[in-house]
Symmetry: C2
Subunit: 326 residues, 2 copies
């Protein structure tokens, strides 16, 4: 597998060329009400409208579409119960290779169905007894499959960074960009694009309060492991930053803002009522940071990555039920 040894603006630009005309160039929305609310000029990059409903398709397609003939003949594999699974499944089917996705036995029926719907084969493991990384690697080795990691790969990070690249192409220079951080791939790519184009831009990560592993790691100057986060932001449930992503983010991230689950819910409701768009909890954390003025300075031009919209109607109903808000 062709892997780069550094993440650079050129690598992000190269990814943009690779996914051009395949991934959606998602719209950038603005909202008068939001601008008044946070006293800034806010530009929302709507990755909820990306293929499979989240930014993850960018990185997956960038990597999978560059595989060699032999790798494509054998197929790819991924371990994920979330958006990365669907991204790998769709990207694989688009380039004509097969995808095997390792999912926990108790993954939501809807996510299993969606992943199969994109043409992938789903294998199960017991999340309480199995180590998904070891199982995934064993499966890949046995069948000769190429593992597509969710973020520990510069091709993945470069692909995700095209979201910020497109945003800046549309808005011109911004004072800062807020980016949700889970494993750190979206941020690593976005920060590389952002600082590469505009060295003075501030890159602000956003994590759920309960899942502040990157914030703590940046403060400690090394990767810190936390307990499994209890948060509605299921796309940001990492217990420790990726080694490669943290190597990038420790250089380029200026600060990390934390948001509570209640604030994330408010942001999802604001997006529904005022922006008329659907955001999943992780997709709404950067919006929550703006709305509650965390890491946003008045009068600034602020970019926000709305990273995904795969919430499902029933879960959305549960999360926005009047009683659910503390």
């Amino acid at each position: 597998m062709n892997t780069s040894s550094m993440l650079t603006l050129d690598l992000v630009r190269d990814a943009a060329g690779q996914i051009s005309g395949i991934a959606h160039r998602t719209p950038v929305m603005t909202s008068r009400i939001l601008d008044e609310l946070c006293q800034a000029r806010v530009f929302l990059k709507c990755e909820n409208f990306q293929r499979i409903g989240a930014f993850k398709f960018r990185g997956a397609y960038n990597v999978i579409s560059r595989l060699g003939v032999e790798e494509l003949r054998r197929g790819v594999a991924a371990y994920s119960s979330g958006n990365h699974a669907q991204a790998v499944a769709l990207a694989a089917s688009m380039v004509g290779t097969s995808a095997t996705i390792l999912m926990p036995e108790d993954a939501p029926e809807m996510k299993i169905a969606a992943t199969r719907g994109y043409g992938a084969e789903v294998e199960f493991y017991d999340r309480y007894t199995g180590d998904r990384v070891a199982l995934g690697n064993a499966l890949a080795e046995k069948r000769g499959l190429t593992i597509v990691p969710p973020y520990e790969h510069y091709g993945i990070m470069a692909g995700q960074g095209t979201a910020a690249l497109e945003l800046l192409e549309e808005t011109g220079e911004l004072d800062e960009i807020l980016v949700p951080i889970g494993g750190g791939g979206l941020m690593a790519g976005s920060a590389t694009a952002g600082k590469g184009l505009y060295p003075d831009i501030r890159m602000i990560g956003v994590e759920p309060e309960a899942g502040d592993d990157t914030k703590r790691s940046l403060e400690a100057g090394e990767r810190v492991q936390i307990a499994v986060p209890r948060t509605i932001a299921d796309g940001q449930g990492a217990e420790i930053p990726g080694e490669m992503t943290f190597g990038v983010n420790r250089r380029l991230v200026d600060a990390v803002a934390l948001v509570t689950d209640a604030e994330i819910r408010e942001a999802m409701i604001f997006a529904f009522d005022r922006l008329k768009i659907v955001l999943e909890p992780s997709g709404a954390t950067a919006l929550a940071a703006v709305m509650f003025r965390k890491g946003v300075e008045p009068g600034k031009r602020v970019g926000v990555i709305l990273s995904g919209g795969n919430v499902g109607l029933q879960r959305f109903r549960d999360l926005t039920a009047p009683k659910a808000t503390p």
Copy 2:
């Protein structure tokens, strides 16, 4: 008040110039899943992202921004409990005039608040005893206000028609366009734009099954009054087509498709789950027609006007509750 005596493509183009840079040029979305579902190539014009959350802003701003100094000094008035009220309120505030909106006493608190939020004064009437047209006219005469009608005005129709004009500028020629019909203003403007640009284009109206006054009127060759429609599509509750709008639509509308409330709900859920966008019931009727293949021929290039997204979280929750679907 400067009123035109005919609705023409030039009048729609003139409206497009008048609202340019003021109204949003809303995005056109496509969906692979939707195309597969209805075996056609579908282009969705997202007026739920328009200012005030619906196409109504186009017509209101086109008319109000052309008023003379004396009219602007006195202010404008409208009778509406829906999107037209908010459209008139916002357009009035943008050109620096005052708006008085006559609403039923039992209008939803949220709609009253939204209308006031755009700076309008709200006056109430009893919907069971009062005739809103007579009351509105009396109020306007007493205070010297200019009434901005919801559809019986070529400037309003021309403004609404800019939605279809923008759609066709982006897609090029289409085989047909599906447009929700309430009072008929959006269709009159859209059909004028559509047939003006492409004489062979088919203009398909969409009405809720219970509110089929335009379908019946077209069949009868004259305006037919029906009982007050019982439908969730509250933006399409007209009992009789407008005189002026019907004069246009009887010439230009090729057919009217009917959709049930259950089909409208399905379309709202599809929009949420698959398109990640929020549609109000009336905003989803044309999508429902496409999804349930009413008036859509396989293999065609089909435009769909998603007319608005002002549903409110609680109402959306009620409409999409599992038990609510028959």
